[in-house]
Symmetry: C2
Subunit: 197 residues, 2 copies
Amino acid sequence: MARVKKELDFSLILAALSRHVDLNAEEQACFCAYLSHRSLKNKELLQREGEVADSTFFVTRGCLRSYSTDEQGLEHVVQFAPPGWWIAELYSVISKRPGTTNIDALEASEVLVMKRSDQEKLFIELPKIERYFRIITENSLVSSRQRIIDSMTLSALERYQAFCKRYPGLIFSLPQKQIASYIGVTPEFFSKMKARF
Amino acid sequence: MARVKKELDFSLILAALSRHVDLNAEEQACFCAYLSHRSLKNKELLQREGEVADSTFFVTRGCLRSYSTDEQGLEHVVQFAPPGWWIAELYSVISKRPGTTNIDALEASEVLVMKRSDQEKLFIELPKIERYFRIITENSLVSSRQRIIDSMTLSALERYQAFCKRYPGLIFSLPQKQIASYIGVTPEFFSKMKARF
């Protein structure tokens, strides 16, 4: 993990923070001092099911996904993370128990890494950072609950439309089978469905 | 909404807080001063789809649920809230836009009510309260994501087992059709499935 702080570009993460909290230059520097950087190759695994996760990742380039594998070996996408999004195996980060999902890169990607132990220090040092994470966690919970409702009440086509609304930048850049996996249909069904409409 | 503060029993909510943050007597009093109380009859609606929600509810007696209704009028349970649980139309509370789910009482119930405007005052007055909500929101997000994974990877029977693990106190007290609605099967299928195992 490279720690060449001088070369890191924090503009995207600081813009993300500024949408919810006001940090002065000193507070921004304090926050950024806790970040390290990692480059990922296409398909590189960042978090493996069964291992304990200790960090949260902010994507600055490329695209990551978290996914779960069922007994038949089929992958089910839990979340995509394009630039500007956070992604983590939150269950494992919180509980310090082995995680149940994988996180990998869908193309060559760059992430900023925040260790949970550092995040907890920041919560005490800078309450605005705890506010920021409280707010984005609330927003993620709303999205996650909406996806549960969608899975119970919407058709596959309507779930695809919900995906397009949530991830407008990914509609054309993601492989079709990844989108099919997110909305919960086979790539064959997905391809026929899109051809029909 | 009765506001007879003297008669309210805050023991359950203070115990819930104490699992995540330490509050002294003065801080506890400050927190409780923002709570009001509401009694609900069986089947009474606390939050109606299409209306703007401004409060979060902590259940002290009975059981609440949030649910969404599909185009055929079928109800799909998003969450149950037995005593000690929080429940809210979080999308609407955060966005101040009309909510997309209903919240009602599955039996005669009592809740403590925290208005969002008061909660936001508390976040500034008592950062420990923001910490508490950050932690329980993280935990809810983990549960919600797990339910998404379960819906994609588990059979109906396994989803029922996951329900039993999440809500052990509700297995025998809830009407069967409510549990069926939560795990996403018809009451008829649910009854046959339970008979078989």
